[in-house]
C-alpha cells in the first residue's frame, strides 16, 4: 500500500467513525508529542527553536513502531499554550532543563478592568495587545511555527497519517480564567458576573469570525474545541449553562457550517453534563480525558456524537503493554464498532512508555 492509499483508507475510517457508519475497524488517532520528542530526539528543548522538531520526532517514532490512522496535532510549540491560557509558560531549555516538561505559570496577568477594555474595544483588539505587552511579545515567538504549519501538515500526510485536528480553539471562559487565574476568576463569577458575561458575549462573534477566517487559509478535517477549566467538576450549573455550554455550541455550529468537525477535548470530569451534549448539533466528537466515564457517555450519546478516547495517561506511563491492550480492547469491543475512535485520554504524557503507545496502535489495527 502506498502512503497515499494508507491515508485515504485512514481518512475514510475516521470519518466513518465520526458519522456512525459501518467501517472495517475502529480507527486510532493519537495526540501529545512530548514522549515522541524525548524518544526520537532525546530532548524537548529543540522545539523552542526548530518548529519542525516535534513533527519530525513524531513521524520518526510512528515509522518505527507502526502508524496510527491519524494524529490529533501536526506539530507543537509550548508557546501555543500561552496564547490559549493567557499565562506565561516556563519552557524546556529556557527556564527549565532541556528534557523537562513545560509548565504553565499561572499568575494574575489580567485584571478586572480588562473586562471593561474588552467590552469597549473588542476582544481581539485587547487580546493582541495582551499577547505583546503581557506575554513578552508572544506573536513574534510563534511566527516560525505558523510559517512551518503547512509543511507539518504536508509531512504528516505524506507519511500516511491523517492530521485530524491540528488547530485548537476555545471559549472566552477559558481565556479569561487563564489570564485571571482560577482563583480570581471563580471570584469574578460572584463579584463581577455582569462584566464577565458581557465580555464573553462581546468575544463570541469575534471568535466565530476567527474560525471562519482561519479556515479560509487552511481548512482542517477537524478542530479541537479545548475545554479544561470549564469542566462540570469545577463550574456550578448556573454558570455552566450560561457561560460554558452556549459558547461551545456556538463555536461547534460555526465549525460545522464550514464543514469542519468539532472535537470537544474535555479534561477533568464532565459526568454531570454528558446528556447536555445531546443538544449539540450532530457531527461532533466527544473526547474525554479518562476522568469522565466514557463507557457511560457512549451509551447516552450513541447515534448522536462519536466518542474518542480514553486510555488513561497514567496507564501509558506506569502500565504494561498488556494492560494497555486490555483497556483498548474494552473500548473497541464494548463501545465499537460504530461511533468510536481509539485515543489516549488528554494527551500522551511525556513519560509514556513507547511500547505502550505501540500497544494502542496494535490494539486497533489488529482487531
Amino acid at each position: 500500500m502506498t502512503n497515499q492509499e494508507r491515508y485515504d483508507a485512514a481518512l475514510k475510517r475516521i470519518l466513518g467513525a465520526v458519522h456512525f457508519e459501518e467501517i472495517d475497524r475502529v480507527p486510532v488517532v493519537l495526540g501529545g508529542l512530548s514522549a515522541h520528542m524525548l524518544h526520537a530526539g532525546g530532548s524537548l528543548a529543540p522545539m523552542m527553536t526548530d518548529p519542525m522538531y516535534a513533527t519530525d520526532c513524531m513521524i520518526k517514532t510512528y515509522e518505527e513502531i507502526g502508524l496510527p490512522d491519524g494524529v490529533q496535532h501536526a506539530g507543537f510549540s509550548s508557546y501555543l499554550l500561552s496564547a490559549l491560557w493567557l499565562s506565561k509558560v516556563k519552557h524546556p531549555g529556557i527556564e527549565l532543563p532541556a528534557d523537562e516538561l513545560w509548565q504553565v505559570d499561572e499568575k494574575e496577568l489580567m485584571q478586572v478592568e480588562d473586562y471593561k477594555d474588552i467590552i469597549d474595544n473588542g476582544f481581539y483588539n485587547w487580546y493582541n495587545r495582551y499577547l505583546v505587552e503581557r506575554l513578552d511579545n508572544l506573536p513574534e515567538k510563534l511566527v516560525s511555527f505558523y510559517q512551518s504549519f503547512g509543511k507539518m501538515i504536508e509531512n504528516v500526510s505524506a507519511a500516511g497519517m491523517v492530521p485530524f485536528s491540528p488547530l485548537i480553539f476555545t471559549v472566552p471562559f477559558e481565556y479569561f480564567c487563564g489570564g485571571r487565574t482560577m482563583v480570581k476568576f471563580s471570584r469574578d463569577l460572584y463579584k463581577h458576573l455582569d462584566l464577565v458575561k458581557e465580555a464573553c458575549a462581546v468575544a463570541l462573534p469575534e471568535l466565530q469570525q476567527n474560525l471562519r477566517d482561519t479556515f479560509k487559509g487552511y481548512k482542517p478535517i477537524a478542530i479541537w474545541l479545548g475545554a479544561w477549566r470549564t469542566a462540570s467538576e469545577f463550574v456550578g450549573p448556573k454558570f455552566w449553562e450560561t457561560l460554558v455550554f452556549p459558547y461551545y455550541k456556538a463555536l461547534a455550529e460555526t465549525a460545522l457550517a464550514e464543514g469542519v468537525i468539532p472535537v470537544f477535548h474535555l479534561d477533568s470530569c464532565w459526568d454531570r453534563d454528558v446528556e447536555r451534549f445531546l443538544d449539540m448539533p450532530k457531527g461532533c466528537v466527544f473526547s474525554p480525558d479518562s476522568t469522565t466515564d466514557m463507557f457511560r457517555a457512549k451509551k447516552i450519546l450513541d447515534g448522536h456524537m462519536a466518542v474518542m478516547g480514553d486510555v488513561p495517561p497514567a496507564l501509558l506511563s506506569l502500565g504494561t503493554p498488556g494492560e494497555v491492550k486490555d483497556y483498548c480492547y474494552r473500548i473497541i469491543d464494548e463501545l465499537g464498532p460504530k461511533g468510536v475512535i481509539l485515543a489516549q485520554g488528554c494527551d500522551i504524557p511525556a513519560n509514556a512508555k513507547i511500547e505502550n503507545i505501540q500497544a494502542m496502535i496494535e490494539a486497533a489495527t489488529s482487531r
Binding site: 482560577m182 482563583v183 471563580s186 471570584r187 463550574v235
Partner: protein, 207 residues
C-alpha cells in the same frame, strides 16, 4: 452565634460577611468567637458541596472569603488559643503551583481548631525547614499534584527530620496514595480537608 454572618458566608456574600465582622469587632467580640461563626458558615458551604449545589469554583471562593475574613477578624495568630489542637505549617511542594486544594485545606483546618501557617506554593525545602525551626509546629502539611515532584516531597520530609523536628507530616493532593506516603517518608495521607482534620487529630492523639 451570628446567624446573619453564617448565612452570608454560606451564600458566599463576602460584602455582608465583612460588614458583619466589622460590627462584631465594634461590639467587642473576640476573634475566636467570629471564627466560630465563620466555621459554621464553612460547614454550610461544605453541605452545599456535598449536595452538589456548589462545585469547585464555590469552594475556591469560600476559601478566599475565609482568608480575608480571618484577617479582618484579627488574624490567625489571634486564635491560637485554648481551642487550638496544634499548629500546621502548610505548603505546596517545590516545583508545583497547584494551590486550589491547599487553600481549601488551609481554610477548613483553620476553622476546625488548627493554627495554619500557609507558606504558599512552590515552597523551597529551605523555607519549610526554616519555618519548622522557628514555629516548632506539631504538623507539617505538604500538597503535591505532580507525580514528577514526589522526590521533592521526599527531600523536604528528609530535611525537616534532619533539622530535628518531630512534626508529623501529612501529605495530600490528587495523585498521592499510601505508597506515596511510604516513598516520601511522611506519616500520613489525607484524601481531602475533612480527612485531614481526622488524620491530624489521630496523629496528635487528641479525641
Amino acid at each position: 452565634m451570628n446567624e446573619k454572618l453564617i448565612k452570608a458566608f454560606g451564600d458566599l456574600d463576602d460584602d455582608v460577611v465583612m460588614e458583619q465582622i466589622k460590627e462584631m469587632k465594634a461590639a467587642g467580640k473576640e476573634t475566636i468567637e467570629i471564627l466560630g461563626d465563620l466555621q459554621a458558615g464553612m460547614d454550610v458551604v461544605g453541605k452545599h458541596f456535598e449536595e452538589k449545589e456548589y462545585y469547585l469554583s464555590e469552594l475556591i471562593m469560600a476559601s478566599e472569603i475565609f482568608k480575608e475574613a480571618i484577617a479582618a477578624a484579627g488574624g490567625i495568630s489571634n486564635i491560637a488559643g485554648a481551642e487550638s489542637y496544634g499548629t500546621m505549617v502548610l505548603g505546596t511542594v517545590k516545583g508545583d503551583i497547584h494551590d486550589i486544594g491547599k487553600n481549601i485545606v488551609s481554610a477548613i483546618m483553620s476553622c476546625n481548631g488548627f493554627k495554619v501557617i500557609d507558606l504558599g506554593t512552590d515552597v523551597s525545602i529551605e523555607k519549610f525547614v526554616e519555618t519548622v525551626k522557628t514555629e516548632k509546629p506539631e504538623l507539617v502539611g505538604i500538597s503535591c499534584l505532580l507525580t514528577t515532584n514526589f522526590d521533592h516531597m521526599k527531600q523536604t520530609v528528609a530535611a525537616i527530620r534532619a533539622a530535628g523536628s518531630n512534626a508529623k507530616v501529612i501529605i495530600g493532593g490528587g495523585p498521592c496514595n499510601e505508597s506515596t506516603v511510604t516513598h516520601v517518608g511522611a506519616d500520613a495521607l489525607a484524601r481531602d480537608a475533612q480527612d485531614g482534620i481526622e488524620v491530624a487529630k489521630e496523629l496528635l492523639g487528641v479525641n
